[in-house]
Symmetry: D4
């Protein structure tokens, strides 16, 4: 490991996602995905430093899990902020029109924040995204009219809290792989997302894989690795 | 409480379900539902005693949760045994043709044992039953062709293990109340039925109520109280 | 599924409960139950929009899980608000005198908020409701004087936190089905309602079915499906 | 601690319950309670050695949690065996007629094994015992006829599995303290006794204290410490 | 049950602890223990009403789980308030000198609040109390000097959070019964008191019984039932 | 949904995986993946019927989770059995040489059974597979020599029990997406695979997605949907 | 135990860590480690009293788990405060140059607070400390450059939240024992540190021992007992 | 990492513990600790192969977690077997007299199997061991007479199930570090060792570190790393 010409920093804690190469054999991975920062455990000053360093180097940056206070404290910086998704981007142009498209499907409006974190992260990594909101299985006909579109997707990110029935229902109807993002939306036994997580993992519907509760960014990262791998 | 002219023994532990009246105001409840016994904690001799006492009194009896060994040990008695459901009945005629009908819907063939316990119990209590098996949501089209029939049911008992997505899907499509019976079918996070139980309780689909894991008898008892109440 | 002449929107997340028909066979379900909205994940603006849209269309509406701040923010609107139950209704007349009546029974005064959510929701759906409060089993004689009334009920909604002993006690004494609503009232091992939920599910008393912790609305919806089904 | 003239060995693991004195001030505790052994983790040879050592010293002995195989392997020894309770005693005479009496109350027949362990242990420690079996709250009238007797008891050991509603119901009706013994009788959410334990701990009925699941011996030991303390 | 000449209201939710008699056989229990109210779920107005009603009737009253805000809001009333214990008493004289004495032992200073709730409640019910604070087992010599006193106690209430080792250590050293009160003091795996509760229930030390986490009042009620029973 | 020209039966309970099309828009999915059966809940006779039906129709079949007894009972049938993986295939030719290849990486030899279920399932669905066994992170140098090969993989299935550190370590070193399969290998806190599952979900390493514990088949199905989608 | 010439008070609740001797045989332990106080459950006045008492006696003191408010309230006292670590020391000189050195390794910047509590506590007890921050396994090359230094350490304290993969990775690469400190950094399944704890306990990497979640002080105390024992 | 001259295989899954060096900087670690194998997941043939390979190379070997059947199947090999500890060693001489000694302390006889696994493993790694059995805290005087010996130990391995009070009690009395090994001995809430584990982690007694439930080998490995590090 002596000669590490480049690094792939892609972690969530201090989270400088440089996706450069590791060793010689991964050189082709050096391009493309810009950096990301997980804001939750960071001070305003730390965030400002990271953002300005990227600004100076003209390196695009994604910030996730921003609080309302953090958004306000950074409001003088040239960030593209989505308050619902709690994300901000710096120096990011839109994905090229020929980029692969993913579908982000949500069960309820309460799941939209996590869905938008997934969508913004995926666009930041170079994927095109289409969101289909509010198609929970308590009213299957709302899902039905989108089935032709879902069938054309190469990958579906399904975002659901409560009982998470959206995951098996979508996976049973389409050919694309489904990345399930359980959300912490729910109360009583479904509080904190554990039932939705269990639904994503416990289903026998084929082709469902799962990320951590509320981890929209993680779903986007997996989608990017699946669809943008050289 | 001094004068208790009759008793309603309807419990699962030693389980003599006489459903007679309690106090004066419940007199109209005195008729109808025959007795039941939970076999799991009983010796062969105890079961034989209970069954023969009913035989002598010519009182119908339902036995649930019989093991294979218990079924064999009691094979000389005039019982109507369902080995898959692990139930046996004594002196029971069919429900009258005008009795209310319930639908028992199962997600997978593995859930059929619990579904048959529910069905046999419900018939024993005077309900007519129709079973629709193997309509899990991993393939929604299998459920679809039964929707007209489900729409005519007055009450649906839905039996599912794994992720239990059948409960919200059925409840979202029909007008009848749904009694969910989570089953212990599953492995990993879905082992022992906890995910299916969470799905039944955590859903926002309207009109779903729930009983304990694998408790087909309990669903039947609730259905009988709902549909046969005077 | 091509021709969906009407919809039954009855969900809790974005929660527009239109209970129209699905397919042809459910046409008779098209009438009756007005719409409902779950306020917990909604902004003041979103709630105001939904309420005013119903006001303009002269469509009755139920709002549940309102916070104190939300109630204040919407105080200029012509809503009928119950601050304890955290519910509000729009354009709702009383149930007709011939409507079926349910009994809502609570163990302690702390359970009254959830009981009132159940009662208000049930009235909104067309049921008449009688509340019997504070009959927890730590003093059974308080329950006893209500037994004749409970015996006349067609359906009982039992609301209890702590150890939830009310559920088996009531179910063992009356002929009516019991919908148990565990509440999050309690501390230590009984915190968040898990013991009360276990009591509702684990009892061998016949005819107890259960909904999620604190889900008074869900109990009312099930009661309406049971008693108002055509 | 230099001079330890006697020992109080009263533990369950290797479990030689000598209840002699510790230090000078506990001298009055030196008499009375004979020894006990927890059989579950012991070989036949170990048990035989312990029993024969007591036999030679003419010291009474209680053995708990004997398996059927252990009972058979020790059948040549002069033990007084209760196979249902899985206990055996050596050299034990009956409690004197003036000994305090406790009541042991069980919810179902399945709880009888644990109740008998409690009863046999309590008698071994010098208490008189009366068992009232099968008075679960699914049929409260069965409990009612025993209320006058329960009211005369100085201490009640209540033994229940499933949802454990017996604990608050009894405690709410009588003046005596109640030691709750949750049992592992139950299935689904009530499996392994956790719901019954939660009921014993989470109740607001006054005067309920609790021991570990299935720990009939522990309830007896506490009762003896309460009623036989000098 | 028709003629209920008196009532024993002793519950924690709405909590009017009148401990009057139930039926004829409990007549001698009619006197003595004054009333108590659990403040946690009550409004300032509700508390004020209850307290003033007792003041007018000259009936002693115990209030537990008062918040700092509630204490301030009721500061004009003639209550005897213990802010650390979060209790208040009305019209209560000291226990008579011949009353039985209990020992309340705490592991750490953080457990003192719960210990004082137990002590104040016990005194309110007529017991004399001595508190021995800060004798946790991380330094056993601190416990040692109190052993002679502990040996003279008729009943010990042990209050401990963290790993709860105080319960088996005390029970192994003294002859008196031990009522364990696990507290929610702790962090990490010991957060919310579950490890201390497990220690109280899982120990093989004889004579330990347990109440709910932080339930000092419950321990006092059990002690009163044990020591003051006629 | 009236005209369902074909079906995609791909479920695990009764598990006939036909992957035909659903609706018109999924027609291109009609080819390719043969059928599969989950053996765990099936009798010998049921399995024999299913296998012989496929044999007669000359349709390839995959059977998973076969017990040793089931393998013996079916030993006269022309199945290709892998006793370690507990799988059997019927009428299956090797994947074509141009098929995409996945890498299956295992932490320990105990994880090899699940890894082989994943590998056999993936080959059955048309993927080429290479297994790299026994590269757990307790000795990272064992993993290092395989890094160049891992870098060339288009998709990695990582199989690990115990603490599951393999998942973040591999994902942090390579560009390919990682499907984590936690296994039930472990004891104490790691029993039943819950820690390995938590590691797969809780990591901040990018591009890790997860399936249920021991679900090698599910990982293969997701891999096939990712790599073989048209 | 009669003659206790000195005490070793080293506990976390009221936490006066005097580490004097117990009995004669531990006399050599009488020197060295100064006192410590756990601030979390203490009032400003209590803390001020303890600190001033030490100041007057000229006894060094460590305070842990200080809140921001407590730090401000004590700002007039001559304390050496580390706001990130939430620790303060009084009258403490640096460890001597010949003191053993430990390495404190952290996975992410979010774990730095706990790492600094460990480091400050260890220095207070007489150990030299070197912190290596931000070497989480999502990018193993960051860890690699520190391996020569880690190899020279006599003891490593590893601090990690999320999935805790740092523990097995470090333990598998170095000869020194590893004390794992799981942190509560994480969300979803990894919330509150349970997955990191499971990783520390469930790993098969040799030489990993574990303390409670976020317990940096405990790791330092164990390190001091290991390296400074006479 | 290109040149790995030696390996440290010390893992539990396939578990060849060679403790050779890793990289240049760890050369001094190349000597000493022989190999070990975890038998639980291995076939008789696999074990025989591993043992014979070591026999031929004249390399000492430790085998842990042998079943009774495995011990019988390997009875022709020249192994030194301890059936209670379920360990076997090959070609192992005794530790030299100048080797550091550890004390292994057990709470009950049921914990002796795990204690012996720890002791045999530690001796195999070159430590001298003394076992002090059956000093559980239910009778502290049994522990007291061993305190002078415990005070002389350089390191104590404490082995306890049930409530695990031995861990804080020992750690509070001696200067040596304590490695806690919770065992799965217990029932009810203490089943599977979770309460003992919580006690080891949740205690505030200083210097307690912990390994996985029943992991006697892990405690020995940590002790060897602590005491034998160069």
């Amino acid at each position: 490991m002596a000669a590490l010409p480049a690094r792939q920093r892609f972690c969530c804690a201090n989270f400088l996602m440089e996706r450069h190469t590791i060793f010689d054999w991964s050189r082709k991975a050096r391009t493309g995905i810009p950096e990301a920062v997980f804001a939750e455990s960071k001070s305003d000053a730390q965030l400002r430093d990271i953002i300005q360093a990227h600004q100076e180097r003209k390196v695009p940056l994604l910030v996730t899990r921003l609080s309302g206070d953090q958004i306000e404290a950074l409001s003088d910086l040239p960030l593209n902020v989505d308050p619902l998704a709690r994300t901000a981007t710096l120096l990011k142009s839109a994905p090229p029109p020929q980029a692969p498209q993913i579908m982000v499907v949500t069960a309820g409006t309460s799941d939209l924040a996590v869905a938008r974190e997934a969508a913004n992260s995926a666009e930041f990594m170079g994927l095109r995204v289409r969101i289909i909101a509010d198609v929970g299985v308590a009213g299957l006909w709302r899902l039905e009219k989108h089935l032709p579109d879902l069938a054309r997707a190469r990958l579906i990110v399904a975002v659901a809290g409560m009982e998470g029935a959206l995951f098996p229902v979508v996976a049973g109807l389409v050919a694309a792989p489904v990345i399930a993002v359980p959300t912490s939306v729910g109360y009583g036994v479904a509080k904190d997302g554990s039932v939705a997580l269990g639904s994503a993992l416990g289903t026998c519907a084929p082709g469902v894989v799962c990320v951590n509760i509320d981890n929209g960014f993680g779903a986007a990262a997996a989608a990017a690795k699946i669809l943008l791998a050289p």
